[in-house]
Subunit: 369 residues, 2 copies
């Protein structure tokens, strides 16, 4: 099986801009080619678009606009983890020998139709994600005696990280009090506990071992992949205080990479809402059950950027189809020591956690130098 | 690299039914499990949905409804060749070792949003596919001195084939005069020259070599894959009398399979409109340029079902995301000698041609016993 790595990437600022989806996805692809002049468009075998946008045939559209005539071209959608699903698909095209170089562009508009899962009647009339997040928060706080203040630290930390990320939607920092006093959305959620949908795009090029060695001075490899789908309906989750799909995907990814969670130096985890970060940290094995907020607090107090260095979804914004790609770019930059003020000291192995629809499905990737 | 083959399939009648997309896609999946009791849902590693429908997260939705908890789950869209794109993606998941068994369900409703490509301004105000098909017809007839009567034979032949296909939308046969006298849509297109969008679903399960040998009594293998994307915009085609993407995809697929076009015993080609069949036959190498209609006429007069045995898109109906899967099932049935009244004598090698948006992109698959 071919080894698969990252050749280059391009990302543009996340915003509330009202741009056409075609413009959005092209923006980061143009940035990619501008910053990676060594990549010849003629060598690109596949173009994948990761989005929830309703426009069709976006991969051939992007190909034409970017001057590429690939063999393979299609869109991939799976709500919020469309991005990492696209990376896994690109990995398989390369590892199987059907492609040597694959471009992925993740793109979304602020008004993405992927925010509400109409099908899920188990949510009753409460279809917006803030409602499952509220149930998660209530359940998690009750099970482990966690306070609103402890959860608020997630938002404080991630906004602090986002301030060092020039592509993040937020560049403001907040105190715990400001998070707690921000607009109350439900009994268990304040506005600053939530990531916000936005317009954004992130592009990445993956390649086979030969192509990566030829085209990247600073290779980063996909060492582990884990994915799990438990259900589509929220109430099929076996717990509202932990993430079963994340646990299983994390175990598979670490096994494939032959790593332990202790080997992970830096990670992006899917903090769609503040409660998701400690839950994900526990389900991935970074912290014991109920101890995720302790870890968050310690990282925050020691100014350690290990978890969600780019500011997470809460600080960066959450353009659904672009999020998994942006997370992967962040870990790549960290491993390449190109993360500026967000840089972790000398990381060797990084992890990406990306999930959809109340963690009914998850993807975990392990990257290494 | 793992060898990849077909373990089982399920297909339900194409119709104008007004059913929810979730019901449509589940129908053929249920048929698949009913007719393949040897397949254990627990062994399914990936579930892919091929559709242009705007509903999100359909792969986890199908998984939950069908009682599957896969690792990989996402939707694939690329207009009319979404189905074969999904088959190629499933192939790559298996060949790369990320999955051993992959379920694909292709599904569409009669009112699919994939019928009009709004982005393509090169079509001016004439965005409906009948307009590019009319330009194809005018160009092809002019270049090779082909008559409307000669093109009408495609529809006559394919409706005749569809009459032997219990899942086809049409069960009527027509004379050349009836095709010519059917409702005039444009100067160069009559109603019976056109495939019709419909509600339909087709599911297929692919597996690794071990799994296919274990679970299928009558293995059929994916021997060749070819894909090419020229553009998204119609007027970027270099010719309106031939299909460049089809030519390149066909050459790649035959090369990978180590076959010549003379080795192909039976084929499904993408007859979205009558003119597409001779154009595709020529671009694939079945006939010399301008001689495709001669081949169609000869096949029709000798009652030879070699090309489009299930009735093609014109006779079967065209549920966009399901079409490529239905074509692949037909060739599988032919190679398994299970095609009933449509059966070709002792075929060893078959071909599938599926394309999108005026042949701006094409997929060609070669299957063998």
């Amino acid at each position: 099986m071919n080894k698969v790595g990252i050749i280059g990437y391009g990302i543009t600022p996340f915003s509330k801009d009202d741009q056409k989806i075609e413009t959005v996805m092209l923006n980061s692809t143009k940035e990619l080619f501008k910053t990676n002049p060594q990549i010849d468009r003629k060598d690109i075998d596949a173009v994948l678009v990761s989005t929830n946008n309703n426009s069709k045939y976006l991969s051939p559209v992007l190909s034409e606009m970017a001057g590429i005539q690939p063999n393979i071209s299609h869109t991939i959608e799976s709500l919020c983890n469309s991005g990492t699903n696209s990376i896994v698909s690109a990995y398989s095209y390369i590892a199987s020998g059907l492609a040597d170089i694959v471009l992925i562009s993740g793109a979304e508009r602020y008004d993405s139709p992927g925010q509400i899962l109409e099908w899920d009647n188990s949510r009753g009339e409460y279809k917006h994600p803030i409602f499952w997040a509220s149930i998660f928060a209530k359940s998690y706080k009750r099970e482990y005696s966690i306070s609103d203040e402890e959860l608020a630290v997630v938002s404080v930390k991630n906004h602090k990280h986002a301030k060092e990320n020039p592509n993040a939607m937020s560049n403001k920092t907040y105190s715990i009090e400001e998070v707690l006093n921000s607009k109350k959305l439900t009994d268990d959620l304040k506005l600053l506990d939530c990531s916000r949908p936005c317009t954004g795009s992130a592009s990445i090029i993956l390649g086979s071992e030969d192509k990566v060695k030829q085209l990247s001075e600073n290779p980063v490899w996909i060492a582990g992949i884990g994915q799990k789908t438990i259900s589509a309906g929220f109430t099929k989750n076996i717990s509202f205080s932990s993430m079963e799909s994340t646990k299983l995907a994390g175990q598979s990814a670490l096994k494939m990479a032959d790593k332990k969670i202790e080997n992970i130096d830096v990670a992006e985890v899917h903090d769609a809402f503040s409660v998701c970060e400690p839950m994900a940290l526990e389900s991935l094995g970074f912290a014991m059950d109920g101890k995720g907020t302790n870890m968050v607090k310690e990282l925050h107090e020691t100014n350690n950027f290990k978890i969600n260095p780019r500011g997470g979804l809460i600080g960066s914004g959450h353009p659904l189809g672009a999020t998994g790609i942006a997370q992967t770019i962040e870990i790549t930059q960290q491993l390449q020591t190109k993360a500026g003020n967000r840089q972790i000291e000398n990381p060797q192995v990084g992890l990406i956690h990306n999930m959809s629809a109340a963690a009914t499905s998850s993807t975990v990737l392990v990257l290494e130098k």
